[in-house]
Amino acid sequence: MTNSTANNQGVSPIRAPDTEKTRSGRDLAIDRQRTMLTYLAALRAELGAGS
């Protein structure tokens, strides 16, 4: 993965729950945001793992 792709995770996707127009959409977005944050935390740990 390129740095720019990784950095994009901090721009639009992470703000998604605030921009959803329906309650159901917001609920699903919150779950998916949690999934992304869990993934990014693991990625951050791995990228630091060998250094």
């Binding site: 993965m1 390129t2 792709t5 990784a6 699903l28 779950d31 998916r32 999934t35 869990t38 993934y39 990014l40 693991a42 990625l43 740990a45 791995e46 990228l47 793992a49 060998g50 250094s51």
Partner: protein, 221 residues
């Protein structure tokens, strides 16, 4: 990063490697770029220290392990480990500090790959193989599998049967199939204890990701 590699030969070898990568005949996909090589080198350094292996040989082997690149759908792709190993003695002879390690490093490069089917014959070769396999696992592995698939035209997953419940696995067509076909098997084949420990963590990360994906794909179907 320099502090992580306290070898006098490291910077000259890296500079030569950068020149080599810039002049290659095939453009590398995002999963096999210099970043991948440096991450494997850092993992190899860590594993070497934890296993008591020769760190110079392990890190140099990691830096040179993908010296020859062919796209995954190229007929020479399964041969790249041996093609790279054939170049290693010349690279080591031209790098002060690595001359005496040329044989050990070439052997580690030759046996590192999954598709090449090599079996490491030394602790240093085991470290290089484990370090490269760790890169196929975890959050990094998830990013790399979809990047590699995209490079040769694979789709993310089968639109009607993503989990291959009623069809044979085909990871040339569907990147998600590569988890079952290869990635989830790597953990059981790690050669060092330190590598296995890290692989366990990364396997858990992959399974968490796959569970989330299964849930999302189920929500939408």
């Amino acid at each position: 990063m320099d502090a992580a590699f306290p070898f006098p030969w490291f910077e000259p070898l890296l500079a030569r490697l950068r020149e080599h990568l810039a002049a290659e005949p095939f453009p590398r996909d995002a999963a096999h770029d210099l970043g991948h090589i440096l991450r494997v080198a850092r993992l190899a350094h860590r594993l070497a220290e934890e296993e008591g292996a020769d760190a110079d040989s392990c890190v140099a082997g990691a830096l040179l392990h993908d010296l020859v690149y062919r796209p995954k759908n190229h007929p020479e792709s399964p041969l790249t480990a041996q093609l790279a190993a054939d170049l290693v003695p010349r690279w080591c002879q031209a790098t002060a500090g690595l001359e005496a390690r040329a044989g050990a490093i070439a052997a580690a490069v030759a046996s590192h790959s999954w598709s090449g089917g090599g079996t490491p014959a030394s602790l240093e070769a085991a470290v290089v193989q484990d370090a490269d396999r760790l890169e196929a696992l975890g959050a990094v592995g998830v990013a790399r599998v979809f990047a590699t698939g995209a490079s040769f035209g694979a789709q993310l997953w089968h639109p009607e049967d993503p989990w291959a419940e009623d069809r044979p696995l085909d990871d040339k067509a569907w990147s998600l199939d590569h988890f079952e076909r290869k990635l989830l098997k790597l953990q059981a084949d790690m050669k060092t204890r330190s590598g296995r420990d890290l692989a366990n963590d990364r396997q858990r990360t992959m399974l968490t990701y796959l569970a989330a994906l299964r849930s999302e794909l189920g929500t939408e179907s």
